[in-house]
Each structure stands twice: as C-alpha cells, then as structure tokens.
Symmetry: C2
Subunit: 418 residues, 2 copies
C-alpha cells in the first residue's frame, strides 16, 4: 500500500507526519526542493531579518526516524489518474492514494513579463532576490549624486495589500527608519518612500474592516503610504503606472496575485478563478476518490459557502485530516468530512504591531504582535530554528539591527564573467 | 586629509577601525561586497553547517558610529598612482593615502575553464554553490538506480591539500558519515568516497611534518582518502584525470591555488609567482610611499626571508599597523617597520579534531580543536554572530545535525524559465 505525497508544505508535511511509523504503509514524498519552508516568515528573509536556513528544514531530516517514509527531490511532470501513476524527472511512481499539495505560485494576471521588474515572494530564491534588490537600492543611493536618481532609488513600491504586501511594507519601513538610520552618510534613509498599492477598497481584505483600518494606521505611522482603489497598469525597470499616474521607483515588489499550482490543470475537476480545484467534502476529487488535494491547491467551500483562505492552519489541518481519513479507510471505516477549526488570521506590521482575528475576537497593536510572535515560534519546525529565530528577534528588537544584511550575487563564477 | 581603503577583509577592516573617530581624517572604504566576510569559516557554509549571514557583517554597520568613515559598495577599475586617484564604477576617488587590501582569488594555473566543474572557495556565492552541488549529489544518488552512476554521485574530489582542502574534506566526511546517516533510504551515505588530492609530498605544507601526518591520520579515520604526489591533469563534468588514472566523480572542488587580486598588476612593483606585490619593510610601495599593500596582496619577507602566509592574523596585524603608521606620520613622527607577531596556524579536521602550530608549540587532536573553536568565536565580529555560531556548533556537536542544509537554485524567476 503506497501513499504518494506531492509537495512538502504545511499540508504535505503534516499528512506525512500522521503516516510516520504506520506498518505496511509506504509513503513517498516528492518535492522540487529539499526543504520544508515556513512560508509565513518568508518576508523576513526578504527584509534581511532572517537567514533562509532559519525558516527551512530538510524534509528527509524531519522523517529520518520513520523508515516507511521516503523523500525524493524531483519535479512532477504528469499525473495519470487513470493508471494511478505520477511521472517525474526522477522516474515513475505508482500509488494507491495520492495527496496533491504543491501550493501556489505568484501570478501577474496575464502580465508575466512584469516578473523581471517586480519579483514575487513565494520561494527562498525570490526572497533572496528581493533582499538583494532592496539592499542594493540603498547602496546605490549612497553613491548616487543626482537627486532625482537618488529619490528613485529610495522609492519602493509594493503591489498588493494582502498579508504579504502589508508585512513586506512594514518590514521595509522598519529597515529604512530604524536599522539603516546611522549607517549611511550621503542619504537620509528615513526619507525612504514606501508605497503600498492596493486595487481594492482596503488593505487586508480578508480581515474585518476595523482591523484593516487599524493596519492602515500602523503602516502610516511607520511612514508607509497606503494607496487604495489604485490599479497598477504597467511595470517596467523604472517604475509603475498607476492609472494615469507614473511613479518612478528602482524597486517594485509583487504581492498582488497568486495562482494554484499548474498541476491542477491535469486533474479532472472544476477550477476556480485562482486555479484551485473544487474538492469534495472529504477533500478528495469527484472522479478520483483516491486523490486528495489540500492547501493552496484546493477550493473547499462546503463549510461556509466561501472557499477557505490559503493560510498555513488550513493547509496543516487538511493534510492531517486526509492522512487520518486514509488510515480510517484502510481500517475499513467510513471516511469523514473535513471541518476547519478556525485558528484565525494574523498579520504583523513592523517591529511591534500586528492585527489578529480569531472568529469574533479582533485584536490589534502590541498584544496582537506578542500573540503573532509566539504562534510563529511555536509552529516553526525544530528546536534549533525556534531558538535561533527567537534570539534573532530579541536581538533585533533590542538593537534595531537585522541578522542577514547580505547582498549575494547571482553568479558564483570568477573567471567566466571576465 | 583622506585615506582610501580598497577592500574590507581582515586588513582593510582593521586599518579602518584604527582610524575610527580620528578628527580631520576622512576614511573611505570601497568594497565590491556590502559585508566583511569571516573567511576562515567559509568552508562551514560550503558544508551546510553555517548560514552565510552568520559569518558576514555589513561593513557600514561596523562603522555606523564613526562619522569620519564612509563605505561605498563599488568595483575598482584603475588606480592612478601618479595623480593619486582611484577610478571605480561609482566614481573617482582622490586620496592622500591609499591602502590596497583586496585579497586573493582562487586560481587554476592557466586552466581557468576548470572553474565550471571545480568551483573554488573564496566567496559566499561559491560557498553556496559548493553546498548546492554537494547536497544535490546526495539527493540525486538517492533517486539513481544505476549503481555506477550512484558511485559517481557519491564520489567527491577535493583538489589541493592546504587548510581549505583539509577542512573541506573533513567537513564533507562528517556530513556523509554522521549528519546524513539516517536520512537516506536507498543509499548508504557512509560509503561516500572523499578524495583529497595533493600534488606535493604532504598535506598542510605550511605546517610541520609531524602535524601534517597527524592531520592525515585524522582525515583517514574519518574515511577520507588522502592522495599525495598526485597531480590533477584534467577536470571535466564527469571527474578528474590524476596522472594516468581517471577518477569519475560528480563533484569536484578546487582548493589548490590562489592568486593575489589583479589590482597588483596596476601597481608599479615586483610581483611574485602568486601575484603578490613585494612591499617595503613598512608595507608601502617602493615608488609610492603613500600606497600601502596588506594581506593576501602583499609579499612581505623582510622578517624571516620567506613571505608571510596569507592568513587572517597576518592581514589583521598589517592593516592595524599601516593605520597606526599613517597616524604617526600625520603627527610628524617617523614611520616604523612591520613586525609580525606569530599567532600560529590552525586547521580543523571534522567534528572534534584540529592541528595547531604556534612557534614551537605543536598540538593536535581534541585540545587543538578546542583552541580552534574559541579563537574563531573570539574573532568573529558581532556578539550576535558569536552567539549564534557557538549555538550552531554546540547543537551540531550534540546532534550531528547541520544548520543550513538548503539547496538554493540559481534562478529566482518562475515565469521566464518556462
């Protein structure tokens, strides 16, 4: 009996954990990366606060004790649901059950050429690229004598006012206002312009209006300009067009759209506008009960009529639920239907503010930030990471310094580039 | 009065520190990178033990309190010693005193095309590339069914038996024997073949013969095969030629040669075979007393008749000495001549062995390793780095785990590569 798990995000990882040590069950995890990434803190890598390794753990190391779990680094090419087979660059894998949990990627609504000038934030590589661009902009501003060019270098535009955009904007504001305050001689980093552009009526649309306003207030106190009802119509190497207005900026970051993994297009089923596949109440596919889809790839709206958000607690609960359901079925018991236990939503703004919403509880400010802090430490995998990240945060909180202000080049070669 | 410092390695950084807060003196540091790199621990980044940010500190942050010190990230194009001017990609800089300390790069003795298949270890980018190759080789071996290909994937060749080669070999052995022991299912990582190839009669030629033998013994106990008197004649994507013998290997690392920065060729003066410029007893240039050269770029043999080694304590003392001499001259006092105070040499082998040589004192094994450990922690810049690195080491020592087992891709783009 073999369960194949595609993807080791929160869904895949937590499914596999349930299977650990189950006799007679072979579990194979396939992921393009060799690590599980703690996505909620990825923006802190982009903002030079944390190192990649502090929020990423080798998948095979997590399961080193469970000999029934195998991990392969590979890329899935096709899924043949009729023959129950998955084809990858490292070979073909047959399965009895398949859990598809490859997450989502950033999406430009048809303007994919914008990527070069406005990287998204879904991978370690992208986070390091954003860090490189942000730090380089300040370095270049320091050596620039032309005032207009300096202003352009010190203008940062973040497109998209969801959690990622808000957290990035807050982190950049903190970087420019506090961390860099005494480090530059020719520029006043406190004059850095950070624009958060949102097409809709308000930032954090998934939160209540009250908290959305509160986040807005926190951001503006940090010096971030929040523009709502503004649609970006063009992005190039020198800035963005917002409606009729042109804003010159050396750094543009994309946090506006995501789309579920393209694998969904290979699975027979209805896709929503974000590319998520509509799943049954037990998270399986209508035509293939042995295939389950979880996390950002799944459109599950059986509970409230609206699809669940693409956040870590949803993916985590779904992964765990699917695995338990499979074990139940193997014991001859009937499957259950998925029910999400609302763990709330959180977004942090700068060094000590956050907004938090758990059911009817709505919280903002410092207290919400403390909750944010402990939840994120709690869910980080590995004692070492928990400890190092907590230390980095404490140290950053006390000294305003950031732990990873490194500009890393793309090319490692010395001789070829000459 | 302006002092221009090219490079912020141990020499440049420690020169600048002396100048910090000196009134009437403007100091400009130019470096291609935005950070000072603690080179002696770079091999630990390559071996997935430390994160880049743990051994690199932003230069401008080190000098944030000293307003007479400016830092520019830039690349030096030319030095015009006659007009006392340095041209860079971020403008021209005039100087009264110039300190040239750009270090050395790895060197292939005319076979620069070998770089693609045998990266050197002088930069963060190269360390991350080596880490990527090493970790990927194990991942690929796990998915490989052909035994010959598996053996090739699990063969690692390190060319060059100096400190870097020895430390890399020890770290890879530790990784394969201990860290990976329980993480793979299809391969036995303890069978990993690690070859250290040295053209000369023994490894660690800068150390005494006794310690060299001891290091050899430590390495062999860890499973490293040490080949001496063997000259690599060819490196390609599939392995190396050693004399008449062909060894297939997926991963080849280069630790055999270094060459001083090419800037030396722009300075009038005698160059030795490693591209180092022969300096006067006060580390200045014969024809330009206002130009000083320090660290790996300098050939200083006035003390013992033999040039000083390219190690951190030499660079550190030279940088400090030059700065003090300049200050003396500005006070109207005569210059002094440089005298190196021997701080000894150290190399570590695997998780708890090292060799150490300070003057007549020769030490090996665990005690030498303890000394190595504390010296490296002591000289690491920043309390945060000291603490995090010590924690990483303690944790790694107790659990055999490594802190940064991340395979990071070259490309951050999602859409362009499709």
């Amino acid at each position: 009996m073999r369960v194949l798990i595609l993807g080791s995000g929160f869904a895949g990882l937590n499914a596999a954990k349930v299977f650990g040590g189950v006799k007679g069950l072979e579990v194979i995890i396939i992921d393009q990366k060799n690590y599980h990434l703690f996505q909620p803190l990825l923006y802190q890598v982009a903002a030079a606060a944390l190192s990649p390794a502090e929020i990423a753990v080798p998948i095979r190391n997590i399961f080193s004790r469970h000999h029934n779990i195998k991990v392969f680094q590979g890329k899935v090419h096709t899924i043949n649901a009729d023959t129950k087979s998955v084809f990858t660059n490292v070979g073909e894998f047959k399965y009895n059950y398949l859990i598809v949990a490859c997450g989502a990627r950033h999406y430009y609504f048809g303007n994919e050429a914008w990527e070069e000038n406005a990287p998204g934030l879904k991978t370690i590589e992208q986070a390091v690229e954003i860090r490189r661009r942000v730090l380089t902009a300040f370095e270049n501003a320091e050596t620039e004598n032309d005032i207009d060019k300096q202003i352009k270098l010190l203008t940062f535009i973040i497109v998209g006012g969801g959690s990622t955009g808000v957290e990035l904007a807050g982190a950049l504001a903190e970087l420019s206002r506090f961390t860099f305050a005494k480090d530059f001689r020719n520029i006043d980093t406190k004059r850095t312009r950070i624009l958060l552009i949102e097409a809709g009526p308000r930032i954090l649309p998934n939160f209540s209006e009250k908290l959305s306003l509160r986040a807005n207030h926190h951001l503006e106190k940090l010096g971030v300009q929040v523009l709502t009802f503004k649609k970006v119509t063009k992005i190039d190497a020198d800035g963005v067009n917002v409606g009729d207005e042109r804003i010159e900026a050396a750094t543009v970051l994309w946090a506006a759209g995501i789309k579920a993994s393209g694998l969904n297009q290979q699975l027979r089923g209805e896709l929503d506008s974000m590319g998520r596949i509509v799943v049954e109440p037990d998270l399986s596919l209508k035509h293939y009960p042995e295939i389950f889809v979880a996390g950002d790839q799944a459109h599950f709206s059986h509970q409230t009529g609206k699809p669940l958000h693409g956040i870590a607690p949803v993916a985590l609960q779904q992964g765990r639920f699917i695995a338990k359901n499979i074990l139940k079925e193997l014991e001859g018991k009937p499957r259950e239907t998925f029910h999400y236990i609302d763990k709330g939503q959180l977004a942090t703004i700068g060094r000590n503010k956050a907004v938090l919403e758990i059911g009817r509880l709505k919280l903002g400010g410092f207290l919400a930030w403390m909750v944010w802090l402990f939840i994120h430490i709690y869910y980080l995998i590995g004692f070492k990471n928990k400890f190092v990240v907590l230390f980095q945060w404490a140290s950053s909180y006390l000294t305003y310094q950031k732990g990873a202000r490194l500009i890393v080049d793309h090319d490692w070669r010395f001789y070829e580039k000459r």
